[in-house]
């Protein structure tokens, strides 16, 4: 009797046992890095597609030229045409290739986002001063700035 009782008690202890530790499954999979991502670039191109020559102007003479704006690099863009600095005359700027219609009020900001590949033509008309003296030069500085916008 004594031997049998001892065996039963021992088995009971094994099952009740320690509750502090137990095994648990854990599985993982790699979330891969994937390909690298590259940043682009952004710059403004503003060549004269119709050259504006201010050489040898006479009083009150008008001359025109067309500058074409476009962005180089990536993304969409907007632009601003600043107030021109003219020595020996005045200047007007028109949208498009012909200096006709209503001149832009400068500084002018185009807030409509331009597509990446968009180009903008600006016709620039310079009028020499009526009191332009012989040998006096006429010069123009027209500031144009562009800002990038998101690709989408």
């Amino acid at each position: 009797m004594r031997a049998r009782l001892i065996a039963v008690v021992a088995v009971g202890l094994l099952f009740v046992g320690s509750s502090a530790a137990y095994g648990a499954w854990s599985r993982g999979a790699v979330v891969a890095a994937g390909s690298p991502v590259l940043s682009g670039s952004f710059d403004l191109s503003a060549p004269w597609t119709q050259p504006l020559s201010l050489t040898g102007m006479y009083p009150a003479q008008k001359r025109t030229g067309v500058v074409q704006l476009s962005r180089t690099g990536n993304g969409r863009w907007v632009y601003t045409v600043g107030a021109p600095t003219v020595v020996g005359g005045t200047a007007k700027v028109f949208l498009g290739t012909g200096c006709t219609g209503t001149a832009l009020v400068l500084p002018f900001s185009q807030t409509t986002v331009q597509a990446g590949a968009a180009t903008v033509d600006l016709c620039v008309e310079v009028t020499a001063s009526a009191t332009l003296a012989p040998g006096q030069t006429v010069s123009l500085t027209l500031p144009v700035t562009a800002e990038n916008r998101s690709t989408n």
Binding site: S26, G28, A33, V37, S39, G73
Partner: protein, 200 residues
């Protein structure tokens, strides 16, 4: 009297024999075979990248775009947002199996430090449902923890469901001229992580 006495003594002797020495006694003993019975099988818990293209990390423009993001030719600029996704398949079996799923860390942007500085604050990663999930499988509102309740993985077949890991990288531009030219033509990566399932 004598006969009775003898009988009584005989009985007494018999009783004495039964009560007898404490060292040995007869006892009943029976046995029966305990059959082997049917086998017991353990369950399973596993997660792998889903078979097919969606099981690979894929970059795309976060916002609607007329063009597909091309990892070779596409370039990000200030204000852009790109998304990386990868789908995983979870397989589980266990009548009382309860487990959770989570990333061991939040993937971060690495690479050119000037560009990393512009992208880090706008980078997030979440877990979400892909395809059909059975009752008992859920994801928390933050998209950080998947929970499978007890009994969901029980039954006659494996529990199988897909989980999508989505990372969004935003280039937050706070104003004109705030992104220096040295962030142009740079390269960054989104670090890897592990999707871990843990029995609970």
């Amino acid at each position: 009297m004598r006969k009775t006495t003898k009988g009584a003594i005989a009985v007494g002797a018999g009783v004495a024999l039964l009560l007898g020495g404490a060292g040995t006694m007869a006892a009943w003993r029976v046995s029966a075979g305990v059959g082997q019975g049917t086998s017991v099988t353990s369950g399973k818990l596993d997660v792998v990248a889903k078979t097919g293209a969606t099981g690979l990390p894929v970059w795309s423009w976060t916002n609607a775009s007329p063009t597909t993001f091309d990892v070779v030719n596409s370039r990000i600029v200030p204000g852009d947002s790109v998304t990386r996704t990868q789908v995983f398949t979870v397989t589980a079996r266990g009548d009382h199996l309860t487990f959770t799923g989570a990333l061991d860390l939040a993937p971060t942007v690495t690479g050119d430090p000037t560009l990393v500085a512009k992208l880090t604050s706008g980078t997030t990663t979440t877990l979400s449902q892909s395809g059909t999930w059975p009752t008992g499988v859920s994801v928390n509102g933050a998209g950080t923890l998947i929970t499978v309740t007890s009994g969901t993985a029980g039954g006659a077949a494996d529990l199988t469901f897909d989980v999508k890991v989505t990372s969004v990288v935003n280039w937050v531009s706070v104003g004109v001229g705030t992104d220096a030219a040295n962030t142009m033509n740079q390269t960054v990566n989104l670090a890897a992580a592990n999707l871990v399932l843990t029995q609970s």
